[in-house]
């Protein structure tokens, strides 16, 4: 018997170790004195930086408020619906149940996409834009079925006679309902609430489509994916974790006291108490966040940028957005995205004042007449841009865009792991490094590398070119450890992989965290890319947008951005202020001769791009 008891403890212990081991890792890295996964000393810095980061704090407030309201409304809606559903029998009930489960079985991407279509459609009729309300509605939508799933079993188990008995004993219908039925269902209701809260708190995809310009925490984190997730997020998670645990312990202690006094502590009390505590907690946090947000600006501009693509005051850089807000008394509503295509999907329905797409995407937006010609009289700092970065092929007369950053695709390799000399992209096909080669998980960049090896110009490929490139990728596949984007950081920095192609500025950071890493500019040339600031046609404040663009071109701002992002700056005044070491680094600032060998992507027609995507998925999956 004793043995069995020990086994039971071991089993429970193992499950909880399983659940909490990653949390421990997550917490540990919030104290790491580096952005990378390599441990480089203990620090509290991220906690201080966290509270200075307005974007994260705002996102946190939004996330908590939405999660709480969504959980509350869906619990009510779901409980009422379960009661109603309970009295249907047979086929009718099955139909209702099946329809009700659709949000659960639908992949989130599709739910998100379809809800966006719905809200855009309704928005045109009723004249509203996606935002808090649509976000909340969509969260209630996907949470309610979970509430029903957890309340219904309780309802099935409930003795039907209880309700009647209560009435026989003199209760009114309403009294009987609240004191008997709800009491019986309470564990189910509470777990439905908790599940809803949990799902809502962590939902990214559906939110991304329906949130409009509301930034929530998971969106914030997802947009960091192209670069890397900041340890500030770990710090925030740690704080939340500690708070939740504190609440848990307090409820337990007070529960224990009460139990002593009154053996018959019922579920209702417990549930109510938990709700009250959660509520109090969220109101406090919401209040703090709300307070930090309230100030009186004269105007608002909406900026839509890549994740982690602006200096934010860390590491001695300027807090660019705060500086702009202070200087011009204009509030910047700052939103982020993770890829050009995502940005493109979003600007169809929402208006932003400044966007920062890449070269080929700018070409596409110009071709589709979605950009506003800029008034360069309002952007006097345009003179700071070096001539090499004006009039580039995507915007030949430079009417629509002002370059922000640029860079090349290069190869990062681990000197201790790679076999043979790395001179060009053929090193990615080296049999000797089998299982330690990483490749882009993005069709455009992966196919371009293959095309370069075949001597095809990747800037504007035909379907045949794509087919040939895919054959080459299929040959490479058995050698590939994985197709990656941001994971490349961890894999290269922790000696997990020997060689990987990635963007120059990012490789520079990886090399900073692992001394065995080195880089190679492929001898055959490579992709040269530019991200540039543009103003969409439906911008509400084009003049402020130009003011913002002009501000971004100030030398001090440019140098901060360049230092933070790690990509090269087209701003010659800013470059002059950079550390000599960075300015003369041939990885970030390759020579003019080398750049002449490089190519740019041009605006790929939609059908070719779709073909690329399909073929790449086919080639990179068995």
């Amino acid at each position: 018997m004793k043995k069995l008891f020990l086994g039971k403890k071991l089993y429970i212990g193992l499950i909880f170790i399983f659940l909490y081991a990653p949390i421990a890792v997550l917490i540990a890295y919030s104290f790491n004195d580096s952005k990378s996964s390599v441990w480089s000393g203990f620090t509290f810095d991220w906690y201080i930086k966290l509270f200075q980061d307005q974007a994260i704090m705002t996102a946190l407030g939004n996330t908590l408020i939405v999660a709480l309201l969504a959980a509350l409304f869906s619990t009510i809606l779901g409980t009422v619906a379960s009661l109603g559903m309970y009295n249907f029998k047979g086929a009718k009930r099955k139909i209702i149940q099946t329809v009700s489960n659709i949000p659960i079985i639908n992949p989130e991407i599709v739910t998100g996409m379809s809800l966006m279509l719905l809200f855009v459609f309704l928005g045109q009729i009723l004249n509203f834009e996606n935002g808090f309300v649509t976000l909340l509605l969509s969260h209630i939508g996907f949470c309610t079925p979970y509430v029903i799933l957890s309340v219904t079993p309780k309802l099935r188990q409930m003795d039907n006679h209880l309700f009647e008995a209560a009435q026989d004993l003199g209760c009114t219908q309403l009294q009987a309902f609240f004191q008997v039925v709800i009491h019986e269902l309470l564990p189910g209701i509470v777990s439905g609430f908790l599940i809803s809260f949990t799902y809502s708190l962590d939902d990214f995809i559906i939110s991304f489509f329906t949130s409009g310009k509301m930034q929530t925490l998971p969106i914030e984190i997802y947009t960091m994916l192209k670069k890397r997730v900041s340890p500030k997020i770990n710090a925030l998670s740690t704080i939340l974790f500690v708070i939740i645990f504190a609440v848990l312990i307090i409820t337990n202690i007070s529960g224990a006291n009460k139990e002593k006094k009154n053996k018959d502590v019922n579920n209702a009390n417990k549930g109510k108490k938990m709700l009250c505590l959660a509520l109090a907690l969220i109101i406090v946090i919401g209040g703090v966040v709300g307070y930090s947000r309230c100030s009186n600006y004269t105007a608002v501009i909406n900026v839509f940028n890549w994740g982690e693509n602006i200096a934010n005051g860390e590491d001695g850089t300027l807090d660019v957005i705060a500086e702009f807000e202070k200087k011009y008394n204009v509030k910047v509503n700052y939103n982020e995205y993770e890829s050009n295509e995502e940005m493109y999907a979003k600007i169809q329905n929402e208006s932003y004042d400044v966007i920062i797409p890449s070269d080929y995407m700018i070409g596409k937006l110009i071709a589709e007449d979605m950009l506003l010609p800029l008034d360069f009289d309002n952007i006097p700092n345009y003179k700071n841009i070096a001539d090499e970065y004006k009039n580039l092929p995507y915007d030949p007369n430079n009417e629509y865009s002002v370059p922000y950053t640029w860079g090349v695709v290069a190869i990062c390799y681990n000197e201790d792991m790679v076999s043979g000399e790395v001179t060009g992209f053929d090193a990615l096909w080296n049999e000797a490094d089998k299982g330690e080669i990483l490749m882009f998980n993005n069709s455009r960049d992966a196919l371009a590398i293959a095309m370069q090896r075949l001597g095809i110009d990747p800037s504007n490929p035909s379907k045949e070119d794509i087919d040939k490139a895919c054959e080459l990728l299929k040959e490479q596949k058995p050698l590939v450890q994985n197709y990656v984007m941001d994971q490349v950081y961890d894999l290269m920095e922790c000696d997990q992989s020997a060689i990987a192609p990635y963007y120059a500025g990012d490789i520079y950071y990886m090399m900073d965290n692992n001394e065995s890493l080195n880089y190679c500019l492929p001898e055959e040339g490579t992709n040269f890319f530019v991200d540039a600031m543009c103003v969409p046609k439906n911008a509400e404040n084009p003049e402020l947008a130009e003011l913002f663009i002009n501000f971004m071109l100030e030398p001090e701002v440019g140098v901060s951005n360049s230092e933070y992002i790690g990509y090269a700056s087209p701003n010659k005044e800013a470059v002059a202020l950079l550390d000599e070491e960075i300015r003369n680094n041939t990885l970030i600032y390759p020579s003019k001769e080398y750049l002449d060998k490089c190519y740019m992507y041009s605006n790929t027609p939609a059908d070719i791009y779709n073909y690329m995507q399909e073929k790449f998925i086919e080639a990179s999956t068995s």
């Binding site: 499950i15 659940l19 990653p22 997550l26 890295y29 809606l77 009422v80 619906a81 009661l83 109603g84 309970y86 249907f88 099946t98 329809v99 009700s100 659709i102 949000p103 639908n106 992949p107 991407i109 599709v110 739910t111 719905l118 979970y146 799933l149 079993p153 099935r156 188990q157 309700f163 039925v181 908790l194 599940i195 949990t198 708190l201 998971p218 997730v229 997020i233 974790f241 939740i244 848990l248 337990n252 529960g255 224990a256 139990e259 938990m274 995502e342 493109y344 069709s443 450890q481 994985n482 990656v484 994971q487 961890d490 922790c494 000696d495 939609a606 779709n610 399909e614 990179s620 999956t621």
Partner: protein, 264 residues
């Protein structure tokens, strides 16, 4: 109870927020950009049948493992004191309040070559690849969705009348017998909820296999994620097929459940 009317708000809700969007998906699947009817997108979607089958296989494995891991735990929790019950429930929920992506990345750090787990196993003389395989993907799924198995099971088991178990014991059942003859049949609704809540998301989720799996472990959710930005039609078609497959699965599950309930 005259509560049939209570369903009305939810019916309206479902119409606007579930059925209308569903129709939009179907219309996206069957019509091209010019609004002409076509089946080409469904045909394209069928190109991804390997990823489909693989996703279902991963979902099946994850669900089975979750059920096996969760069932005894849920039983233990449901038999413990009320206070312990709520503590357990919270302890199980708390990890899920940390961001999904951060937790998966933490697993990468735990499992990587020369990482803590790998070093430990090497010390014991075991040398198996921990990452970039189906095992790692399933581990990620089990980790992600285990709480969604434990919670409904605990809820349902907690409601089983203790006197039933005592009665069975009085009538000479041993522990195993009690579980098989009393606890198990009564916990079927919980099993169904749990299986649904684990199987469905693990078949359709993305990013887990991108982080923990290798080039041979791409799942259908990842394919949709790669496609939806540029090719909404094919993405919708894949989603529609996935939905149909899962619907069939659920209908089968529910039928099984009802028969069990009748059996009791």
């Amino acid at each position: 109870m005259k509560t049939k009317k209570l369903i009305i708000p939810y019916l309206l809700w479902m119409f606007v927020f579930t059925l209308v969007p569903l129709i939009l998906i179907i219309s996206n699947t069957c019509r091209d950009d010019n609004g002409n009817f076509t089946l080409i997108f469904l045909q394209k979607a069928l190109n991804y049948k390997d990823e489909f089958l693989y996703s279902l296989w991963v979902a099946f494995l994850s669900t089975t493992i979750c059920l096996v891991l969760a069932y005894p735990l849920s039983y233990i929790i449901s038999r413990s004191s009320e206070r312990a019950q709520s503590t357990y429930t919270m302890l199980i929920m708390v990890p899920m309040w940390m961001n999904f992506l951060l937790r998966i990345r933490a697993w990468v750090l735990l499992l990587q070559t020369n990482g803590p787990l790998d070093s430990f196993l090497n010390m014991l003389g075991i040398d198996i690849p921990l990452m970039y395989n189906t095992g790692a993907v399933v581990l990620g799924m089990v980790y992600e969705f285990l709480p969604f198995m434990i919670l409904p099971l605990t809820t349902v088991m907690g409601k089983i009348d203790k006197s039933l178990i005592e009665a069975a014991q009085d009538l000479g059942c041993n522990k195993l017998h009690v579980i098989r003859k009393v606890v198990f049949p009564l916990s079927v609704p919980g099993i169904i909820s749990g299986v649904t809540m684990v199987f469905v998301p693990s078949a359709s989720t993305f990013l887990v296999s991108q982080y923990l799996g290798g080039p041979n472990n791409r799942m259908i959710g990842d394919v949709i994620e790669m496609l939806y930005k540029s090719d909404k039609h094919t993405a919708s078609a894949i989603a529609l097929l996935l939905m149909i497959v899962i619907l069939v699965f659920m209908v089968v599950m529910n039928r099984f459940g009802d028969e069990e309930a009748v059996g009791v």
